[in-house]
Symmetry: C2
Subunit: 307 residues, 2 copies
């Protein structure tokens, strides 16, 4: 294997669920973390520097998710002992429903795979990422970019990547509080009505069909949900008002990003108007927030030249 000493990877943020597509759909967005990985001769060395989001909070020891992902690849490749230096430049906010942990996992896997000569293909990396994350819906777009449909059976992940209409933009409104995925998952009931299940089946079909065919006029009917958002609304004060404000300002639809609390508007124009309307609606509920106008990322995690 052709190994390098150092690699740099950038990894996109991701928005999962996309309304009706719970644990299935995801889109990669133009907001990036950067990871610099260096393998060293000092076998026991682990040196992790976190810059930006999560600096001072994220663990810099063996519990660090990027490091665990790097080690997973090195172990699988039977690379042997090595020291690891990591510099993490984080722009994706933590616990906001924007896939920061998936970016950490995918970034660690891709960086480690690249530094030892890419022994593993993307299918294998996706399986590894899904095992580390628990669900494929964020790791798949973080790895592949674009719009992904992922389903899991036993240990195997099936992932289909589809092109997106180029005019689609995403405006994410990020409130000033975190929400743990665990807490957001606990809000979801063990059973639902058959009617609600079928409701989401229909809207998911419409969403995938609309995206695949570029018929964005169908998004307003598709970007709705009865399987998770209603149960999580109580965890995000003002959520429904922010949805409405975004739609009234011209968004095709507004949904929770992943498990929240960030809320994602799908737009083709008027990004600023939509973003400002959402921030204002949150403010009425005494929630301070900011918005970012994002594009779809079509590349997924990728190696860039080391600094």
């Amino acid at each position: 294997m052709q190994t390098k000493n150092q690699v740099r990877v950038i990894i996109p943020a991701t928005t999962a669920n996309c309304g009706p597509g719970f644990d299935t759909l995801g889109i990669a967005c133009s907001l990036y973390n950067e990871i610099e990985l260096e393998l060293t001769d000092s076998r026991n060395l682990t040196d992790i520097k976190v810059l930006g989001e999560g600096s001072g909070n994220l663990p810099v020891n063996s519990r660090n998710l990027v490091l665990r992902s790097v080690r997973a690849v090195l172990d699988k490749a039977e690379f042997g002992e090595t020291g690891v230096r990591l510099i993490l430049r984080n722009n994706i906010p933590l616990s906001r429903g924007l896939g920061s942990s998936s970016a950490a996992i995918v970034g660690g896997l891709v960086a480690a795979n690249a530094i030892i000569g890419n022994p593993f293909n993307k299918d294998i990396l996706l399986d590894m990422a899904t095992r580390l994350e628990g669900h494929p819906d964020n790791v798949a777009p973080a790895l592949h970019g674009g719009f992904t449909i992922s389903v899991q059976q036993e240990q195997r992940v099936t992932c289909l990547r589809l092109p997106l209409p180029s005019e689609l933009r995403l405006v994410v409104c990020i409130p000033d509080f975190g929400l743990s995925t665990r807490k957001a998952r606990e809000a979801i009931p063990g059973s639902v009505t058959h009617k609600d299940a079928v409701y989401n089946v229909g809207r998911t079909a419409l969403l995938v069909g609309a995206i695949a065919s570029g018929r964005l006029e169908y998004l307003s009917d598709a970007l709705v949900d009865k399987l998770h958002q209603p149960y999580r609304a109580a965890l995000i004060p003002g959520m429904l008002d922010v949805f409405e404000a975004g739609r009234e300002a011209g968004a095709l639809g507004v949904v929770m990003s992943g498990a929240g609390p960030s809320l994602m508007a799908y737009v083709v124009e008027n990004e600023e108007t939509v973003g400002e309307a959402m921030v204002k609606a949150f403010a009425k509920h005494k929630i301070s927030s900011r918005y970012l106008s994002l594009e779809v990322d079509y590349n997924g995690a990728r190696i860039t030249d080391p600094a």
Copy 2:
């Protein structure tokens, strides 16, 4: 309005649900009913002749579904009193999950609309058909042809039609007994686990994505279901064995057609082998059946020249 005296319409059979897409997805198939409609001056005359499937069973009075659909259009258009003559040449078997009632409704609507100069567009006809049928998943492909995604909210139906990969063929195995849609609906529980709901959301997304992108290799993972087939299996002796036999013979997947009892194999080759394997598997359960090798119908209901 430009009216005619007589029109002839052919209407395709349809297969709904398509595995995971309960009450949402449908495909039109190359098996057709034909309706000849004539308006007469004898105001109270209703003369209905049924040939082929349903002859001797289907009502030939005011309860006839084609006639009710014809009358619905004439009433909506305020056409005034008129006598109606109908000749129904039926090839779609009844109560087999192949959309015979949707074909009757759509055929009646399209014929009546055409004979009075097409005052109503397809969106209006779809709403009318859905009200008469109760669900849009069969009437949408019967009207539009091809592969349709339909969702209903209040009285409004949203329908997106997608192209299908041209190599896709359908082999339907039709057992020798009928199953009423009502009975098949009663088998479905009022609630399901959240996990099963999400299972179908994922497979529906994959199915729509696979069809839209022509990636038929994804169909085997997509043509599965946990929202209706498991509950209806008891109504169709040998169903799971027929599924397996079809797949082993080369089908990409096998699912119930609509509410059954017909079972539909999705294939790109070996239609005969698949069909024969399915008939043989039914026979092991003492169910006699036949199979038809069908193509996708891309046109939907359409006017042909009167005889």
